[in-house]
């Protein structure tokens, strides 16, 4: 995983991530404010006092926090549209991933989210071997061919050309198998099947949170398993680490692999999983009204003349 572009380019600490968003927003706000000043200066003669006041009141750039609210709302739209197209789970996940990463490198002031949504899904299909020709894609989504293709390069560049994604679904399948081995005979397979389906849905929700930048896919999977069945997951991890001798000390540096080359401490892992679980459960939500007011300000920043 550490060799993957996902780890090398797209993993951050919470502080780094916040700084990144603040920096991207600040750059955009600075240039927007300059444009607005120039607009007012260039149109001094045409604008009366009241109009200038209106511009100052309504064409107000949005903050990094407000940007994130809008991005989160549109990320859900990406998920919805991709699911409505009956795309495989992994491709829905890649679409969401591409969309959210794009806005780690770009501000909504510069690229209106609505314009990027379809391009992220189109590129995700191409990248994950589910090619849909642009004409049929536009037919299904009623999108504009020019607009979708126009943003393909900016999207690819903002993604730092990293298209390969490790989503938490395969780890879920892997743990589904390993749980059967470690808890052999102690788990009901039908029940496991239900857990599996619920976890798949929960993983897609998790991809809408910042957990994807702070944790590796398997860690996210274990957090989702912990949400869906804490007892099962805890039991599995205990046995995984301590085998059947429960008296071995929980905090000892336990080895998870035969050749003792890798030391992972159960206690550290469980703490990490719980932290990740909290982020996933906090999944962000933005009200439509709030989004509308943010979008309005964005629009007026781009089009002060309309004001």
């Amino acid at each position: 995983f550490r060799h993957s572009s996902q780890y090398r380019f797209w993993s951050f600490t919470p502080e780094q991530l916040e700084q990144k968003r603040i920096r991207v927003n600040a750059q955009a706000v600075q240039s927007i404010e300059e444009d607005l000043r120039n607009f007012v200066a260039d149109n001094k003669t045409d604008l009366n006092e009241e109009e200038i006041k209106t511009i100052e009141m309504k064409a107000v750039p949005v903050t990094a926090e407000e940007e994130l609210k809008l991005i989160n709302l549109y990320a859900k739209k990406v998920q919805m549209i991709a699911q409505r197209l009956n795309l495989p789970t992994e491709i829905v996940a890649t679409s969401i991933t591409f969309f959210r990463r794009f806005y780690l490198e770009n501000s909504v002031h510069k690229f209106e989210p609505k314009a990027i949504v379809l391009t992220t899904i189109f590129l995700a299909c191409k990248s994950d071997n589910y090619f849909i020709g642009i004409d049929s894609f536009c037919e299904k989504t009623r999108g504009s061919k020019e607009q979708i293709l126009k943003y393909e390069f900016p999207l690819l560049e903002s993604l730092k050309f990293s298209l390969f994604n490790h989503h938490p679904y395969r780890p879920l399948h892997g743990f589904f198998l390993d749980i059967q081995a470690v808890l052999h005979g102690k788990v009901d397979l039908n029940y496991m099947g239900h857990i599996y389906d619920r976890c798949k849905k929960r993983i897609t929700e998790a991809l809408l949170t910042d957990a994807v930048y702070f944790y590796s896919p398997p860690q996210i999977t274990l957090s989702v398993l912990m949400i869906e069945d804490e007892a099962l997951t805890t039991r599995y991890l205990e046995l995984k680490f301590h085998g059947n001798n429960p008296d071995s000390s929980a905090d000892a540096e336990e080895t998870i692999s035969q050749d003792n080359s890798v030391n992972i401490s159960l206690e550290k892992l469980v703490t990490l999983i719980r932290d990740c679980k909290r982020i996933i459960e906090e999944s962000p939500s933005t009200s439509v009204d709030e989004a509308k007011s943010i979008a309005a300000r964005l629009y007026f920043c781009q089009n002060p003349k309309d004001l």
Binding site: S5, I134, L149, L156, L163, F164
Partner: protein
């Protein structure tokens, strides 16, 4: 980066030789044509970018950088002046069984690295095995690569250049595995020993004929359910070659070399050797040892 000399042009890209200004390093710039593909960026370019970004290995071509310029996507790749096809064809170049062993070892290391990252190459052939100035073999051209499929996924069988195409692909299989890359590697090994193409079919249909005439027509006995493929019914039945025939055909090959080749050219993909079995085979443990790549002329 500079683009100094155009050295090649394909369907979706033009390749230039150039230099990285800051270090003076020789590089190749693969400029992707964007106008040719009405659906935006070409699928081959997307695949090259996607998989080369993930693979860092001595025996896989290095993606040095990527940039957009004048609406063209440019892949900056390490400079690799030669390839195995050129070596095989150039009869003035003499090479030894130790050289062949070295090339096979490096090729299989590169293929193994792709497979353990769950990436199928799907176009292995001599001119996609490039040679660096210090003699290293580098697997290149990931324009047909893809990740191992999810279980229910259907794959196209129209991959791999015909002469190197595995029998399951010739039959139109939709759920094939990394075994198709191993077959290609086996055919390349045969070609290195013969110095002529081993299974040169003129058409896709002829390729089936040529393959089974040389290696025998598979049956349900050695390849369960092979008769399930629709194309199977019209087949000419050929017996597999005897060991003696193989010895005569590959006169310079040791017993282990023949086992190695037969392991890679096993008809049944489920039984075909995988990259680890190839790398751990006796062929690489017996004399002659693989040549030091930097000494191979």
């Amino acid at each position: 980066y500079t683009k100094e000399k155009k050295v090649g042009e394909g369907t979706y890209a033009v390749v230039y030789l150039g230099t990285k200004q800051s270090t003076g390093r020789k590089i190749a710039v693969k400029e992707i044509k964007t106008s040719e593909f009405k659906d935006g960026l070409d699928m081959s370019a997307i695949r090259e970018v996607k998989y080369l970004q993930e693979i860092q290995h001595e025996n896989v071509i290095e993606l040095v950088d990527i940039f957009l310029a004048y609406d063209n996507l440019n892949l900056v790749l390490e400079f690799l002046p030669s390839d195995l096809e050129k070596v095989i064809k150039d009869k003035s170049i003499l090479f030894t069984p130790a050289d062949i062993k070295s090339w096979m070892l490096m090729t299989l290391r590169g293929v193994h690295h792709c497979h353990r990252n769950f990436i199928l190459h799907r176009d292995l052939k001599p001119n996609n095995l490039l040679i660096s100035p210090d003699g290293q073999i580098k697997v290149a051209d990931f324009g047909l690569a893809r990740t191992f499929p999810s279980a229910q996924e259907i794959l196209t069988s129209n991959v791999v250049t015909r002469w190197y195409r595995a029998p399951e692909l010739l039959f139109g299989a939709k759920h094939y595995t990394s075994a198709v890359d191993i077959w290609s590697t086996g055919v390349i090994f045969a070609e290195l020993m013969l110095r002529i193409p081993y299974l040169p079919g003129q058409t896709d249909v002829d390729q089936i004929e040529v393959t089974f005439r040389a290696l025998g027509t598979p049956t349900d006995k050695d390849w369960p359910d092979v008769s399930f493929f629709p194309a199977y019914n019209k087949l000419q039945i050929y017996p597999p070659p005897s060991r003696e025939e193989l010895r005569r055909r590959f006169i310079a090959a040791s017993e282990n070399a023949l086992n190695f080749m037969c392991g890679m050219l096993t008809m049944n993909p489920q039984k075909r050797w995988n990259a680890v079995q190839c790398l751990e085979s006796d062929y690489f443990k017996e004399a002659p040892a693989p040549s030091d790549p930097s000494t191979i002329q």
